[in-house]
């Protein structure tokens, strides 16, 4: 069996048998991901496919980090206008494909999409809504926890918003001279 290919979710993709262990994530893929993407244009889902069957997905949406209400002297060197980001809202892998690195491939794919968004329209980083059980995984990638007073995800259990600057993703690309040598070959 080959590696599942990743591409944008299409209307004919088989989502009906997707089971990741969290019914809310299954339902989102089966009922709402297509609507979000094709009718409401509020997010895009990239699917990993085993034949016609979706066996993993990552949903992203453009967003912005705003600092309303923070005194200008407390804003530091950040510009006063909102900062554009790509929000990684959901990532899930079918139970039959868990433990094979598919979730990591989907995350890397989403980061590459963020680099494309940066080139096309501007984007300073990725914000992930990390489930509490995945916070340490994203922290190892360099994400920092983000304290929000508005715009939190309504997913339950309440995810932790975390931020990674795209410069770090760019530095991690295999061709980057900024990539650290140690550990990168493991």
């Amino acid at each position: 069996m080959g590696e599942p290919a990743i591409r944008r979710l299409l209307a004919g993709d088989d989502t009906g048998s997707f089971r990741c262990g969290d019914p809310d994530y299954d339902l989102f893929l089966q009922r709402y991901a297509g609507q979000n993407q094709n009718r409401l244009f509020v997010g895009t889902t990239y699917a990993a496919l085993d034949g016609p069957r979706v066996v993993g997905y990552v949903t992203v949406a453009v967003g912005q980090l705003d600092r309303d209400g923070i005194p200008s002297e407390a804003r530091g060197r950040l510009p006063r206008y909102p900062l554009p980001v790509l929000r990684l809202a959901r990532l899930a892998v079918d139970e039959a494909f868990q433990g094979r690195g598919l979730g990591r491939r989907l995350a890397a794919y989403a980061f590459a999409v963020a680099l494309q968004v940066r080139a096309a329209a501007g984007c300073v980083g990725v914000v992930v809504d990390a489930l509490p059980s995945r916070v340490s995984f994203y922290a190892e990638l360099g994400f920092v926890e983000l304290e929000l007073k508005g715009g939190q995800s309504a997913i339950r259990p309440q995810p932790v918003a975390m931020f990674l600057p795209l410069a770090a993703v760019e530095a991690a690309l295999p061709s980057s001279p900024l990539r650290r040598g140690s550990g990168a070959e493991a």
């Binding site: 944008r8 809310d24 989102f28 709402y32 979000n36 409401l40 997010g43 949903t59 453009v62 912005q64 980090l65 705003d66 600092r67 309303d68 209400g69 804003r75 530091g76 060197r77 950040l78 909102p82 929000r87 690195g101 990591r104 491939r105 995350a107 890397a108 980061f111 590459a112 494309q116 980083g125 190892e140 990638l141 360099g142 920092v144 983000l146 304290e147 929000l148 007073k149 508005g150 715009g151 939190q152 995800s153 309504a154 997913i155 918003a161 931020f163 600057p165 770090a168 993703v169 760019e170 991690a172 690309l173 295999p174 980057s176 900024l178 990539r179 650290r180 550990g183 990168a184 493991a186």
Partner: protein
């Protein structure tokens, strides 16, 4: 023609700026933008449960803003875990 009425609302400075800039750029009147945006928003909320909506605007606390500033100011070094992750990269399909 539908009878028009007037509303006023307290909004964030950035929302006002966005409205002003988009109106100036597109040539669409502000009342039309607000009305269209409202219809889109209500339609989305009627068709999707709250948990299926990804809020586009995230408002940082002072501590959150400081965390972002530190992250952006640091030299762009990748952690070993991120470098390993990006080894799995395949180029996204064209939009």
């Amino acid at each position: 023609m539908t009878h028009a009425t007037q509303i006023s609302a307290q909004v964030s400075a950035s929302a006002k700026q966005l409205l002003d800039e988009f109106s100036a750029m597109s040539g669409i009147k502000k009342n039309r933008i607000v009305e269209d945006a409202l219809w889109f928003y209500v339609r989305a909320r009627q068709e999707l449960p709250e948990s299926a909506i990804v809020p586009a605007r995230m408002v940082l606390t002072e501590r959150g803003a400081a965390a972002v500033e530190r992250a952006l100011a640091q030299p762009p070094q990748a952690t070993p875990a991120l470098a390993r992750l990006m080894q799995t990269l395949e180029p996204p399909d064209e939009a």
